[in-house]
């Protein structure tokens, strides 16, 4: 299954928002989540280098995909994260 999401963070998927997203994707294990631009090659969402290489800016649409047990919950969580402006969130203590 997959979700199309528009990235809300001001800096896109770079810097802190990218780190927060990748950690969340790592935490989804054993569910393997991929991220891609629409029609593009799916990349491992738990790989910081892969996520950075997409060069995602604010307002870019990306596709998240996963299969198997827990896939739906993981996708919901990650999609919600991308739809939040993580640059506007205060840094955690």
């Amino acid at each position: 299954m997959q979700r199309e999401v528009t990235v809300a963070s001001a800096s896109g998927l770079h810097a802190r928002p990218a780190a927060i997203f990748v950690r969340a994707a790592m935490a989804a294990a054993p569910v393997a989540v991929t991220i891609s631009r629409p029609g593009g090659r799916p990349l491992n969402a738990a790989s910081a280098l892969s996520v950075l290489s997409l060069g995602v800016e604010q307002g870019t649409t990306v596709v998240l995909a996963a299969d198997g047990d827990g896939a739906e919950a993981a996708l919901d969580r990650l999609a919600a994260l991308l739809e939040t402006d993580l640059d506007a969130e205060p840094a955690d203590g």
Binding site: A10, S11, G12, H14, A15, R16, A18, A19, V22, R23, N44, A46, S47, A48, L49, S50, L52, S53, G55, E57, Q58, D87, A91, D92, G93
Partner: protein, 559 residues
């Protein structure tokens, strides 16, 4: 580095003092990037893979631990992102492929990083900059495998003097001022990132100190951040003396209050350089007379579009309010060159330092300045603050006059310009005549442009020294023009924070000095020790000297 280091005793090394004060203690060196040994044939591929993975895990764990020690904010985010990249499955996959192709663990790690580095570099832009981070991570993983010291700031567990070839931003920001008593680097210049950071933390620092890497770990040294002298192989008593004196000095300076003035009562306003409302809190703490340089760049960093009027007004108002009625000199956006901003688009000019930066951006995008001035006007009105505005990178009197008119057109009464380009210093009289109310000399850029020497070029550090007689002459021309026009001449570069240079600048006609909070007390104390006439004598002595070293010596001798 370890094998060629020798214990030097009774030797004095010399560099450029960039952060004042003296301190002593044992030397501990930051590890150099490790070199790969000759390849070893692999007999147990699984074990080799395991070692390589352990190295990546160790690097990630070390950085994660370091991130936790950073206060929340930009610095922690950087270290945290590095930890995440070290743990990237693409690197682990690359290592597996390389081991399968017959490489030993260190070479496999090297190959995996090289592959990812190439990928990022091929994507260009911001991602190409991340490639340097991969180089740093590779060095750490290889060092772990070879059993040599991790590149990065050492942690001997006792207060020490940190010695390095040069320091990367990731190292300098992780420094603990309670553990690191002084910094000495073999490379780096007086306006380098290291120098600026050391000054801000209040740690004595000497840069461009050749030979310091040959001092073995544990050797006791005494570092003089004023003169640039490093005494190697001193005894415990010498270190204890210096530390006791440093403590007395710190206690005395902590008590320092009141306006800046010479011994005979000639006022020299002491201001702070700040970049945010948080920095502005220091104005009252160190009893500075206001803000001499409020950098507005922070609002524009990591932005793909310019911040709105309201957003800017709120940020400016927060700073104005934090200054509690003391004057604030705001510098309009100083982007370009070493401070590229995404929303301005990529700078593809071959020589950005000489390109469209500072006020020159106004030629292409005038709305940026208008929005800034509009926001400043509203913030000034809502807080009742004494706001003065200045433009960076002004070259001609015509630019200065046009800027002053723009500022007044928006309803702000006081307009000035920065003097960073030699042309502006040479034409200071005309710049005042064009209608500006004050000038502020940015000595870092003025050095760079006067000496045609890149601020980042460590091997040119001697040229960038603020004591260069040519630079002091340009400062003197501004001072003369200011005196003739009856208008203020400030200095807001690193030079303003040098207690030995402060009286010289005043003697050259400078009327205010703007610096980081930690430097105010020492500069106040230095000025209080001399009369205005003595300042003029010191200025003449510095101008007459043939070199920065001679100038320092002449001023010390005359004091």
């Amino acid at each position: 580095m370890g094998e060629r280091a020798t214990v030097l005793v009774g030797v004095a090394l010399s560099g450029v003092g960039v952060s004042p004060g003296s301190a002593g203690g044992p030397v501990y060196r930051k590890g150099d990037p490790p070199r790969l040994p000759a390849p070893v044939p692999v007999t147990d591929a699984a074990a080799e893979r395991g070692r390589a993975h352990d190295a990546l895990d160790a690097v990630a764990a070390e950085l994660t631990a370091r991130a936790r020690e950073c206060p929340p904010g930009h610095q922690r985010d950087i270290v945290d992102a590095l930890a995440l990249i070290a743990a990237d499955p693409l690197l682990a996959d690359g290592v597996d492929d390389a081991v399968a192709a017959g490489h030993d663990a260190p070479h496999a790690v090297d190959a995996a990083f090289a592959q990812q580095r190439e990928m990022l570099e091929s994507l260009g832009g911001m991602l190409a900059e991340r490639a340097a981070d991969l180089g740093d991570l590779r060095d750490r993983a290889v060092a772990w495998l070879l059993g040599v010291p991790m590149p990065g700031v050492p942690r001997p567990g006792v207060p020490y003097v940190l010695v390095a070839r040069d320091l990367a931003p990731v190292d300098t920001a992780a420094l603990d001022p309670h553990q690191v008593r002084a910094l000495v680097t073999d490379e780096g210049g007086p306006t380098s990132h290291t120098a600026i950071l050391a000054t801000a933390l209040g740690i004595p620092a000497v840069v461009a100190c050749r030979g310091v890497l040959d001092v073995a770990d544990g050797t006791l040294v005494v570092v003089d951040g004023d003169s640039g002298r490093v005494d190697v192989g001193v005894d415990e008593a010498a270190v204890a003396d210096v530390m006791a004196a440093a403590q007395r000095r710190a206690a005395r300076l902590a008590e320092s209050r009141g306006p800046g003035m010479t011994a005979d009562g000639h006022r020299v306003a002491l201001y702070l350089n700040i970049g945010s409302a948080a920095d502005a809190d220091a104005v009252a703490r160190v009893d500075a007379e206001g803000v001499g340089l409020f950098r507005t760049e922070f609002l524009f960093l990591d932005r793909t579009t310019a911040p709105t009027v309201d957003e800017q007004r709120e940020s400016y108002a927060a700073v104005f309010a934090a200054c509690g009625g003391r004057p604030v000199v705001v510098r309009t956006l100083d982007a370009g060159a070493d401070k590229p901003l995404p929303f301005l688009g990529p700078d593809t000019s071959p020589n950005p330092a000489l390109g469209v930066r500072g006020l020159r951006i106004d030629r292409l995008q005038p709305e940026i300045l208008d929005v800034q001035l509009d926001a400043m006007t509203r913030a000034a009105a809502s807080t009742g603050a004494d706001v003065r505005v200045m433009a960076p990178m002004v070259a001609t009197a015509a630019e200065a006059g046009a800027f002053a008119a723009r500022v007044r057109g928006h309803g702000l009464p006081v307009a000035g310009v920065m003097v960073e380009i030699p042309a502006a210093a040479l034409q200071a009289e005309r710049i005042f005549a064009a209608g500006v109310d004050f000038v502020s000399i940015g000595t870092n850029d003025l050095s760079q442009y006067t000496m045609a020497a890149d601020r980042q070029a460590g091997s040119l550090a001697d040229l960038l020294d603020a004591w260069q007689p040519a630079l002091l002459r340009l400062v003197g021309m501004c001072g003369d023009a200011g005196r003739a026009a009856g208008k203020p001449v400030g200095v807001c570069g690193e030079a303003a924070a040098d207690p030995l240079l402060a009286p010289v600048l005043v003697g050259l006609g400078v009327t205010s000095l703007s610096m980081s909070a930690v430097s105010v007390a020492a500069v106040r104390e230095a000025l209080a020790a001399v009369t205005l006439d003595e300042c003029r004598v010191l200025a003449a002595a510095a101008l007459a000297a043939a070199s920065p070293a001679d100038a320092r010596e002449a001023v010390r001798a005359a004091l």
